[in-house]
Symmetry: C2
């Protein structure tokens, strides 16, 4: 028999002991996370603000958050729809870890005594209908979206007046490396849309679309093209005239889901305003042969609806975690088979397994049937990811290598 | 004598009563704010996230914050270096107001049981060494930086490799309306710097430099020019190689202030990297006659030091709340008097009064002495503002109308 000497316990065992003591003291209000397997190789997340040591991520993909809150009753790390209790130290700082997360980017927040707030240590990203914290879990394939010393394009904030909305709008436009040097060259255009609860900042901030393109172009794996990233969450003018909603109650989504007008309203804006604005302000190849549309989730659904309704406008359709296109869809869309040179469908492997987003039939079977019906298709599955940005970064990476090469 | 009937009290009086009861219950831990004068005409701040009802601002410039935090012991609104206690309602939401703030933009945060966190309802801005909440107090002259249906320039995120830092850097470049249309036209350039604890995002986010320029150009009051906004917080390479600091303790400023290398290090980066990169990538008029430098606070001090050290490179110097230039400075800077066509010095009236930033002598007296010594000068005082963004927006607005007109 050995006596237990607290001074000889490892750091890991101390942590477990502290958890048990805390659980006893708080009368069982805690959800205890078994931490005995936590690997102590945490490093600061690349999505942290400059100089911030926390949050950190370890080689398992666990997220460790830390925040000073000396007078709080409880603090939780809220990530992937699970709340993990943090533990308070003598100085009043709270620390704790999540279960392993998938590789790539994740939105999260802290819960301090019932208040859902951003972690003050991270950069902020728009998703789930709010600007909030994000974390990067290092990925095995992260080189494809890493910032490298290669020629870089620009991401331009473009303000323009939309006649169809009678409003000033904003989009972001990626122009490839060399765009300003050769003033004679004209470029194809990809219209690339975000998901529900996100906005026009998503693809260049958390999506890293510009770095993905810079790296692909530097390696000669993609043709240089322009990318236009606009806001697909179209709002009815009536709604905009109403007073803003009180969202202090942590309501994160619009009352109706998907938001009203998300496809038809945005289609009108895209065709009447965004495409003409782009062709007027950028050196585009302004014809259907040099125009693609793609999007993630809601943006993928918009791509499906808009390319089926107006196949005379596009040559390539990319749908990332947003459904698929069936032979029946194409039969009801005159011109689609003749004009669309590629239908690209992708999903994260984890979301494909549970078929959560597979409305309108199995996406892989649909895509195979479409191929058998004579269309050029590509079905891509992002390994070990779900309905999340790493799936969509990979979707863009694959799609970008296939378009505008004719 | 009248009985007190609580049901007949006005909302305002109920609020006062609630404050007194709260003060009694909490044993005087609260700083009571006399609220009897609060005018009930609060409206959502224009810096809120889309659809968010709070924070609000009233016609006095008071800020009203609201957040759900049902289990918190206390919540405070932390703005202008003062913490204002919020009051909890039956649903667990906390609400309260600050004293009147100056017109314009202010950084702030919430304090929830000792945790300093961003308000989840606002957009985020980089200042005080962090990304945090901001609020807009409507200003009498806000039309000059309002988003209007005029021709708009672009703000471009520019990534480039800096030889002098052996690192990839990022700046933002404003190109004026029409830049992409007339491919023959070349433009003057203003190098415009942020203050300490801020970064390259400040001038276009909270400074609204692009909207100020769009409006001035539309009215024919400024010559169209390019603006380059880079990061002036130069870090020593040694320091960058160290592990990031733990800033979970709410330490907001670098350990040394001003940061090491803030003038000399940035001067090298500006002269060896930023200016050549700009002249190589944009259609600039790449001569000293068409080059200006300006900055706020630390950026103003950098402007002072760099234009005095290298007057052969610039023709205009703008120093907003960052000191002044004396005849003695000019005597020690060969070429300055001959080359610099305008020395523009500005301050907020409230900071000028207490001379807090007036090191190196009284800035107005210095500027007058400089004028008497034969230089073209302009001294501008922003009415009723302090060391804050409304002073600097106005500084840019005035300065931009005076440069590149010869």
């Amino acid at each position: 028999m050995h006596d237990i000497n607290i001074y000889k316990l490892t750091a890991m065992k101390k942590q477990i002991l502290m958890l048990l003591i805390t659980a006893m003291m708080t009368g069982g209000n805690f959800t205890i996370l078994a931490q005995s397997d936590v690997i102590e190789d945490f490093k600061p997340s690349s999505a942290n603000q400059p100089g911030r040591e926390y949050p950190q991520v370890n080689s398992e993909g666990r997220v460790r958050a830390k925040i000073l809150a000396p007078d709080a009753k409880y603090v939780q790390l809220d990530i992937g729809a699970v709340k993990y209790d943090l533990i308070k130290d003598e100085e009043g700082s709270w620390t704790g870890e999540s279960a392993p997360q998938d590789e790539g980017f994740h939105y999260y927040q802290l819960n301090i005594d019932g208040a859902s707030v951003p972690d003050p240590n991270t950069l902020y990203f728009y998703g789930a209908g709010r600007w909030g914290s994000g974390i990067e879990v290092p990925a095995g394939d992260q080189e494809f979206y890493a910032l490298k010393n290669v020629p870089h394009g620009q991401v331009r904030e473009q303000i323009y007046f939309s006649e169809s909305n009678s409003a000033l709008r904003r989009c972001f436009v990626y122009t490839p490396p060399g765009y300003d040097q050769d003033q004679e060259k004209r470029y194809p255009v990809l219209y690339l849309q975000h998901g529900g609860g996100e906005d026009e900042t998503g693809w260049s901030n958390q999506g890293k679309a510009n770095l993905i393109m810079d790296n692909l172009i530097a390696e000669g794996r993609a043709v240089p093209f322009i990318i236009v990233m606009d806001n697909g969450t179209w709002r009815m003018p009536e709604r905009d005239r109403q007073a803003p909603r009180d969202t202090t109650q942590n309501e994160e989504r619009p009352r109706t889901w998907p938001p009203q007008g998300w496809a038809d309203g945005f289609m009108k804006t895209l065709l009447e305003d965004i495409i003409p604005m782009t062709d007027n302000n950028y050196r585009t190849l302004a014809d259907p042969q040099h125009r693609a549309m793609a999007g993630l989730s809601m943006g993928g659904m918009q791509t499906r609806i808009i390319t089926l309704a107006h196949p005379e406008m596009f040559s390539y359709a990319g749908i990332f975690s947003g459904g698929s296109i069936s032979p029946a869809d194409v039969e009801n869309a005159p011109g689609f088979k003749e004009n669309i040179k590629l239908v690209f469908i992708s999903y994260g492997s984890r979301e494909l397994e549970n078929r959560r987003m597979g409305f309108g039939g199995d996406p892989e079977a649909n895509t195979e049937a479409l191929r058998e019906a004579g269309l050029n298709t590509r079905f891509y599955v992002s390994p070990e990811t779900a309905h999340e940005w790493q799936s969509w970064r990979r979707g863009l990476y694959e799609f970008a290598q296939l378009i505008f090469k004719e």
